[in-house]
Symmetry: C3
Subunit: 321 residues, 3 copies
């Protein structure tokens, strides 16, 4: 017992040195530390507010208690108040964190946080209308989607587009940090990576969606359908004379109205335009534009078939991880 | 202080209008609202019950306290009781939500919820036996799988197949909504999307699994192995004269016993049959059947090699997002 | 009411049989049960300790309360103490679970757990220095990465590499089970699957990352960049005369310094070496080595274009799931 305790204490004494050594680096020019006078937004609070917004958008679905025709308005008012408080605080944090002025005597960030929260909340009916179009498009496009309840509860595409439409509003209001926290949270949950800066039209449908990537400067029209594994990305950027990447230009494609892009297709480049009504087949790789009404598919690679003899023992060219 | 408060109150007053405007739409014909007399199932409660079932299937692994040879039976009984209560309540909700009859004077949904919960629980020994086969197949197929503990704790394929075998039972019992909530939860956690309607035989092995999609009407035999990124999907469905998709038929492939499908392969169509013992190579794209014992690989695309000169500065055809 | 109650009790009586039947199998030779005298590590406790380590690595980012220049050292000391307690206990569990000796009279596992926890914690400054290099490489390589805050908060690649560098230390200390729990947790959250046994050099950058797989015996140099969907895998393993897979050799590729591998590329085999400074294009499939400074791209498959006529009604070769 005595031996056990001193073993424990001896070891704990060693931790003290590590604590001191870490603590020293925190206050130096430490890339990974954020130990300033003004805290950055709290990731968990931002996600909590995002969940609150989802409750208001889809009443009855994600509520913590049953919502009925009597209590729904109390519920709505309560959650809207939470959204106001949560967004005000986190937006203020994100603005103050970026501010280079004198912080102590100034409450501009607090005011601006509140104003941005209210502006955002005023956009909620419009966001809901957009999302109703997206849900409707999902119901009409997917034969496995029998009930609106299943689509809202469990379609990752609907979830990702919901978060995108919320984050895009905040991006539009030039709020730093928060939109990316939201979009990466959606990426984690759905496997779908939509940059909040992208422009996406009405009745957007993503099926399955794992691996979908939609870059920051994409412009996507109405009634577009996208399947799993589609990348709308950028070509390599040039670097300037100091070796830094040249940014700030349109780097990602334009996809016009009524385009369908099947799984695994990759479309790259800021000057690339997929004309209205076009269909891009699975695994197609495009770095240039196609005119409206075009259908493009890959010439399937030839397949080699072999008979029974080879099946019993797999040959070396197969893989296994 | 005075100015700050009125700024805050003025802004809050603006929220009231948004609340009123949202509340009005909730009671209209609102696609996104579920504000009825009878609440839909609670997603979080369904997932809690799913976790309870997992505790019973893999005792000692996911329990909230250590399970030993003395306490395990108390633990099992307690969790089984939770499963009964949870499933009864959520199944009743899902049935009542779908019911078109007179709700108030009728407790049929409550009774049917309880009965379905007990029927499901009676299938647990069978489900466990199936999953033991799946875990065994994983241990035998994956050279990196040293310990059964690692396989059960951390293999996404095992996790996804566990949820599938649970959800499939409920699908079979014709319980609405719940199976899809479960399968989408597994999709979120594992990146593997198995529709609860699919039929999957014994000793099924999925390696890594990110991006795997297995459609609703798939029929998969015994001893099948599938790698990451494999899609077992449907061809485009015809639309009827009103423009609606024609559904209700077998839309997804049949995969017979002892088939291996390597990563990135796509197999489509309800009439497509992959004959027993076949091997489908990586990235193969099939929309027709292959006979038993066939091995099919793609003719690899030719590669273009270039020397050192081009490496220092990446050319325009590369991409970066 | 009476009828309702007996319906409920009758049904509950049926559960008792299932409980008994499950309980019997638990104590038999049950592959899925872990009902021994010594509990295995708790998955949720391991993940909690992992989150604690992240707080210490990125102070101010993931903390439960704001960290400032006054309180940061209290905070650090508290979390470090939690890490010590959590790791000590879970490492001891994992060691004792594997131990074949007489448990009751021996506290070696407890001592070894503590010692391993302290050894691990002593490596934290070095782990932080490595991760600072990874974050810096991300900032320099991704034009969308404007702020270090966004990179640390929301880049799945940074998250996955953080967990890898932690898990790799424990793997190196020969701690069972824990490293794989951690790496699979990261896989769930990020879609990136890095085996804790892999060796990865400095300034490693993964973009987007969904679907990335890095196998156990990979050796990766410095300044390597990898995009989404890249697999660094193994060829099929031979089986020995008893039919068991031959393991324990290097099965996964070597990637030398300054290599870039674009999305969807697959590189397989323990003898495969991608020479320093090489560039592997999107979707390339390699099972052999390439010399330093090589650029390899696939000859793009030819595309077939069709005009407007075909767009109105999608032909049968398209798919939809």
């Amino acid at each position: 017992m005595n031996g056990k305790r001193s073993n424990d204490l001896d070891l704990k004494a060693q931790i003290v040195d590590v604590v001191d050594s870490l603590a020293r680096t925190y206050l130096e020019n430490d890339l990974l530390a954020n130990v300033g006078d003004h805290p950055i937004p709290s990731r968990s609070e931002v996600i909590k507010s995002l969940d609150d917004v989802r409750e208001v958008i889809y009443p009855g679905y994600f509520s913590r208690w049953p919502v009925d025709r009597i209590n729904y308005k109390y519920h709505l008012g309560t959650v809207m108040n939470q959204i106001y408080e949560g967004f005000s605080a986190q937006i203020a944090r994100s603005l103050r964190h970026e501010c280079t002025g004198a912080h102590e005597v100034c409450d501009r960030c607090v005011r601006r946080g509140r104003e941005a929260a209210v502006t955002f909340m005023g956009r909620l009916p419009e966001i809901r209308a957009r999302l109703a179009g997206d849900v409707q498009a999902t119901l009409e496009s997917d034969p496995a989607a029998g009930r609106v309840e299943e689509v809202i509860f469990s379609y990752p595409g609907v979830n990702a587009v919901t978060v995108y439409r919320i984050a895009h509003e905040l991006y539009h209001l030039e709020i730093p940090i928060l939109p990316r926290i939201m979009s990466e949270h959606a990426h984690t949950v759905t496997g779908i990576d939509i940059h909040p800066g992208a422009h996406i039209g009405e009745r957007f449908f993503i099926d399955h969606g794992t691996g979908v990537v939609i870059g920051e400067t994409c412009v996507i029209g109405d009634d577009v359908k996208i399947y799993q594994g589609v990348t709308l990305g950028a070509l390599s950027l040039p670097r300037d004379t100091t070796g830094k990447l040249v940014t700030g230009t349109k780097r990602h494609p334009t996809v016009e109205d009524r385009v369908t892009i099947y799984s695994g297709a990759t479309i790259l480049g800021g000057d690339t335009v997929i004309g209205a009504g076009s269909v891009v087949g699975g695994n197609v790789w495009l770095t240039g534009s196609i005119p409206p009404g075009t259908k493009v598919v890959i010439e399937s690679p030839r397949l080699q078939y072999r008979g029974k003899a080879l099946v019993e023992r797999e040959p070396v060219i197969d893989f296994q991880i």
